[in-house]
C-alpha cells in the first residue's frame, strides 16, 4: 500500500458524507446502499464512523459528473477513467467523483458502483494506490465473480490501519 505524499489523514474519527447528486443508471436507494456499503468496508477495520448529511458542508462529498466538472480534472467519456477522489482535507479534499458516462450497476453487468466507490473512498480516507493486484486500492478495475464475498485484502487493511489504527471493538 501507499499513502498520499505528506500522509494526509482525517484528524477526527467521525466523518460526514453527502451524496450531492445521483446517476440516472440506478435507483436512488441503490446508490445510497452502494455508498453506505463502501464506507462500511473501511469502517469495519478502523475506528472511523460515518454519518450522512443532505445539506451544507460535509467532509466527503460524493457526486456524479461527466467530462469537465469544475476541478480541472475532466472525465474522459465511457471507459478508461471511472472516477477519482481527493485525499483528506477541507473543501474539495476528501471528495469522490464518479464518471457518469459509465454504466453504473449494482451487479457486474456494467461498472459496479460499490467496488469503485469503496476504492475511491479509500482515497478520501488517505490511501494512495497499491501495487498489490489483490488489493481494493490497486488502480485497475477488477470485476469480482462473487460480490457477496468481497473483502479487503490484508494490504488494504494494513494501509488504512497505518493511518487510523484498528477497530478496537473487534
Amino acid at each position: 500500500f501507499t499513502t498520499f505524499p505528506g500522509m494526509p489523514k482525517w484528524r477526527k474519527t467521525h466523518l460526514t458524507y453527502r451524496i450531492m447528486n445521483y446517476t440516472p443508471d440506478l435507483p436512488r436507494d441503490a446508490v445510497d446502499s452502494a455508498i453506505e456499503k463502501a464506507l462500511n468496508v473501511w469502517k469495519e477495520v478502523t475506528p472511523l464512523t460515518f454519518s450522512r448529511t443532505d445539506e451544507g458542508e460535509a467532509d466527503i462529498k460524493i457526486s456524479f459528473a461527466v467530462r469537465d466538472h469544475g476541478d480541472f480534472n475532466p472525465f474522459d467519456g465511457p471507459g478508461n477513467v471511472l472516477g477519482h477522489a481527493y485525499p483528506p482535507g477541507p473543501g474539495i479534499y476528501g471528495d469522490a467523483h464518479f464518471d457518469d458516462d459509465e454504466q453504473w450497476t449494482s451487479d457486474t453487468s456494467g461498472t459496479n458502483l460499490f467496488l469503485v466507490a469503496a476504492h475511491e473512498l479509500g482515497h478520501s480516507l488517505g490511501l494512495f494506490h497499491s501495487a498489490d493486484p489483490s488489493a481494493l486500492m490497486y488502480p485497475v478495475y477488477n470485476v469480482l465473480a462473487d460480490l457477496a464475498r468481497f473483502h479487503l485484502s490484508q494490504d488494504d487493511v494494513n494501509g488504512i490501519q497505518s493511518l487510523y489504527g484498528g477497530n478496537d471493538s473487534l
Binding site: L82, H84, E102, H123, H129, P133, P139, V140, Y141
Partner: protein, 82 residues
C-alpha cells in the same frame, strides 16, 4: 496497405502510452517528441516503472500485455505521486 495499417497502429499505441504515462506516472510533458517517438530514455524508464507497479513483466517495451492493461478501466488518480 498492411504496412500503413501497422504504422498507424504503432502510432496509436504510442499515443496511448504517452498519455497513460503522463496521466499516471508523471512523464513530463516536456519530453522531446523525438525521444517519445523512439521510445527511449525517460519513456522506457517510465514504461518499466509502470510495468513494475502494475505487476506486469518488466520489459520496457509496450508489449501486448502492457497495452491490454492500459486499456482496462481504472481510477483517475495517478499511480505515483510527487
Amino acid at each position: 496497405y498492411p504496412v500503413d495499417r501497422a504504422a498507424e497502429d504503432e502510432n496509436n499505441n504510442m499515443e496511448l502510452t504517452q498519455q497513460y504515462l503522463e496521466n499516471y506516472y508523471n512523464l513530463g510533458k516536456d519530453v522531446k517528441p523525438f525521444v517519445r517517438r523512439r521510445n527511449s530514455g525517460p519513456v522506457v524508464e517510465k514504461i518499466r516503472e509502470m510495468q513494475k507497479f502494475l505487476g506486469l513483466e518488466v520489459t520496457g517495451k509496450v508489449d501486448s500485455d502492457t497495452l491490454a492493461m492500459m486499456r482496462r478501466p481504472r481510477c483517475g488518480v495517478p499511480d505515483v505521486g510527487d
